[in-house]
C-alpha cells in the first residue's frame, strides 16, 4: 500500500523525485565502494528477499495479519547503501508492474521508505549498538529498536509531504496523530520480527550480517 497518483500535488511530487534521485545517486556511489562489482547481484538478491518476505504473513489477532516492511532489516543485514538500492528497486517494480503506488508518486515513496526509513533505522542501530555491550544479542536488540523507529520515520516523511502538497482535506495535525499513531503500532510488530530475524541470521551465518561485521575478532597469525 503506497501513495497513489494525485494524492500529493504535482510540484511536491516532482521536488521529491529530485531529492530521491540525489539520495539514490549517493547510494549507488556508496554501494560501489562498499561492494564493488558484487553490488548488482547482492543488492538484486536483497531486493528479491525484501519482496518475498513482504508476502510472508504474520498473524496478529482474529484473522488479521501484517507483514514486514524491511527497511531497517535490510540496512542491518546488507548495509544502508545496498538497502537503499534494494528498496528503491522493489518500489519501482511494485509501481510499474503491480500498479501498487502511483507512477507520479514514486519520488515520494522512494524518499520515505528507501531513504528516510533506511537511514533513520541505520542511524538508530549504530547509536544503540554503541551503548550496548558488544555481543550478538545487542545487535538484535539494536536492530529491533531501529525497526521500531524506522516505520514511524517513514510515516513522518509522508506527513511532511502531506503538509507541503496535500490534495486532501484532513487537517495536518489529524494526519500527524493518525499516521504516526498507526505506524508506531506497526513499528512494534516490525521491531519484533526484525529482532527475531536478525537473531536467526546471526545464529547460523553471522558473517553475512553487515551490522555485526566490525565486531568480529580478527584471527591472529602467530609464529611459534
Amino acid at each position: 500500500m503506497h501513495i497513489p497518483d494525485g494524492f500529493i500535488d504535482v510540484p511536491t511530487s516532482a521536488a521529491f523525485v529530485g531529492l530521491s534521485a540525489i539520495g539514490v545517486g549517493a547510494a549507488l556511489k556508496g554501494a560501489r565502494t562498499q561492494l564493488d562489482d558484487k553490488t548488482a547481484p547482492l543488492a538484486g538478491l536483497t531486493a528479491v528477499f525484501i519482496f518475498a518476505v513482504q508476502m510472508l504473513n504474520f498473524p496478529v489477532v482474529a484473522g488479521t495479519s501484517g507483514h514486514l516492511i524491511g527497511a531497517a532489516l535490510a540496512a542491518v543485514l546488507v548495509g544502508p547503501w545496498a538497502a537503499t538500492l534494494a528498496l528503491t528497486v522493489v518500489l519501482l517494480m511494485q509501481a510499474f508492474l503491480f500498479a501498487d503506488g502511483g507512477l507520479t508518486a514514486l519520488g515520494l515513496s522512494v524518499f520515505n521508505m528507501s531513504i528516510i526509513s533506511v537511514w533513520v533505522g541505520y542511524a538508530v542501530f549504530l547509536l544503540i549498538k554503541k551503548i550496548l555491550p558488544k555481543n550478538k544479542s545487542s545487535v538484535a536488540i539494536a536492530a529491533s529498536i531501529a525497526a521500531a523507529i524506522s516505520v514511524p520515520a517513514a510515516a513522518f516523511g509522508f506527513w511532511i509531504q502531506y503538509v507541503i502538497g496535500a490534495t486532501g482535506t484532513f487537517s495536518d495535525s489529524a494526519v500527524f496523530t493518525s499516521m504516526i499513531g498507526i505506524h508506531v503500532l506497526i513499528g512494534i510488530g516490525e521491531a519484533i520480527i526484525t529482532g527475531l530475524t536478525v537473531t536467526a541470521v546471526l545464529a547460523s551465518r553471522s558473517d553475512l550480517v553487515f551490522g555485526w561485521k566490525n565486531n568480529q575478532k580478527v584471527l591472529e597469525i602467530k609464529n611459534v
Binding site: M1, P4, D5, G6, F7, V10, G25, L28, R32, D37, K38, T39, A40, P41, L42, G44, L45, T46, A47, V48, F49, F51, A52, V53, M55, L56, N57, F58, P59, L68, L77, L85, A86, V89, L92, M93, A95, F96, L97, F98, A99, G102, L103, T104, T167, G168, T169, F170, S171, I192, I193, L196, T197, T199, A200, V201, A203, S204, R205, L208
Partner: protein
C-alpha cells in the same frame, strides 16, 4: 513475476517501444492529476479514453478490474474524508457530510484509479524485461537496471524457495495462528535471507567466471521513428484535448 502479469496479445499497444509507453503513461497521469476535480466532465472523458485504450490493447475489462483492486486501502482513506473535516456541511440521506471533504475524497479516488488503470495497461501490454529496458533508455542508471534485472530473474526462484519452506512447515503440522508463532516465521525469513544472499554470491562468482567486469553486454538500441512517437503520444494528447474541450464548455 513479470511474465505472469503480461498478457500476450497482438495489438498496436503491445508493439510500441516500451520507453515511449512509459513516457506516454506518465504524461497522461500528469494531465489527469493536474485537472481540478470540479471539472468532472473531463474525468468522464479520461475514463472512457482509458477503457478505449484497454480495448485496443485487447485487455479484458475483468482483468483490468481485478488488478485495480490493489488500490482499495487508499479508497478507504478517501471515503473517510467527507466525514472528518471542516467547513461547509450538507445532509445526504442519513449522513451529514463535509462538502470540501467529499470533493477532495472523490478527487483522490478518481485520480488514483486513473493512475492504477494506466499502470495496469502498461504492465499488461509490456513484459517486465521490456519495461526495464524502457527505463534504461530513459536514463535509469545502469546499476539500478542491473539490480532490477536480477530481481526479475530470481524472484520466482526465491518465491518457490519460500513456498517450499511453507510446505515443510505445514507438513510438520505447523499452523500460524498468533504472536507465539512469530519466532518460527522470523526464523524462516532469516533462512530465506541467507539462501538469497548465498545465491547472490554464487551468481556473482558465475558471472566473474564468464568475464563480467561490472557492465552487462548490451544490445543495439534501435531508434524509434517519428511516427511511433506521434502515435504513442496520442495517449496523453487526447487527455489534453479532453481537458481543453471541457474547460471551454464549462466556461
Amino acid at each position: 513475476m513479470g511474465e505472469r502479469l503480461y498478457l500476450h496479445r497482438h495489438s498496436i499497444v503491445h508493439e510500441t517501444a516500451s520507453y515511449l509507453k512509459v513516457v506516454a503513461a506518465i504524461a497522461f497521469i500528469l494531465v489527469a492529476v493536474s485537472t481540478p476535480i470540479t471539472n468532472w466532465q473531463a474525468f468522464i472523458g479520461y475514463f472512457i479514453w482509458v477503457l478505449v485504450v484497454a480495448a485496443i490493447a485487447k485487455i479484458p475489462f475483468t482483468l483490468l478490474f481485478k488488478r485495480a483492486l490493489i488500490e482499495i486501502p487508499f479508497i478507504f482513506f478517501a471515503i473517510l474524508m467527507p466525514f472528518f473535516g471542516s467547513g461547509e456541511r450538507f445532509v445526504a440521506g442519513p449522513f451529514n457530510l463535509y462538502r470540501e471533504g467529499l470533493i477532495a475524497g472523490a478527487g483522490i479516488v478518481v485520480k488514483g484509479t486513473l493512475g492504477v488503470l494506466t499502470a495496469i495497461i502498461l504492465s499488461t501490454s509490456t513484459t517486465a524485461r521490456e519495461i526495464l529496458r524502457g527505463l534504461e533508455r530513459l536514463r535509469l542508471p545502469a546499476l539500478m537496471v542491473q539490480i532490477a534485472s536480477f530481481m526479475l530473474r530470481y524472484v520466482n526462484v526465491v518465491n518457490d524457495e519460500m513456498e517450499r519452506m511453507k510446505v515443510a512447515r505445514d507438513s510438520r503440522g505447523f499452523e500460524a495462528t498468533g504472536l507465539k508463532h512469530w519466532r518460527v516465521l522470523a526464523t524462516a525469513a532469516g533462512a530465506l535471507f541467507i539462501r538469497s544472499y548465498e545465491r547472490g554470491e554464487r551468481v556473482h562468482l558465475s558471472m566473474l567466471s564468464r568475464g563480467y567486469e561490472g557492465v552487462l553486454p548490451h544490445d543495439e538500441v534501435e531508434k524509434s521513428k517519428a511516427s511511433s512517437w506521434f502515435m504513442v503520444l496520442t495517449y496523453p494528447f487526447v487527455a489534453v484535448v479532453i481537458l481543453l474541450a471541457t474547460t471551454l464548455i464549462g466556461n
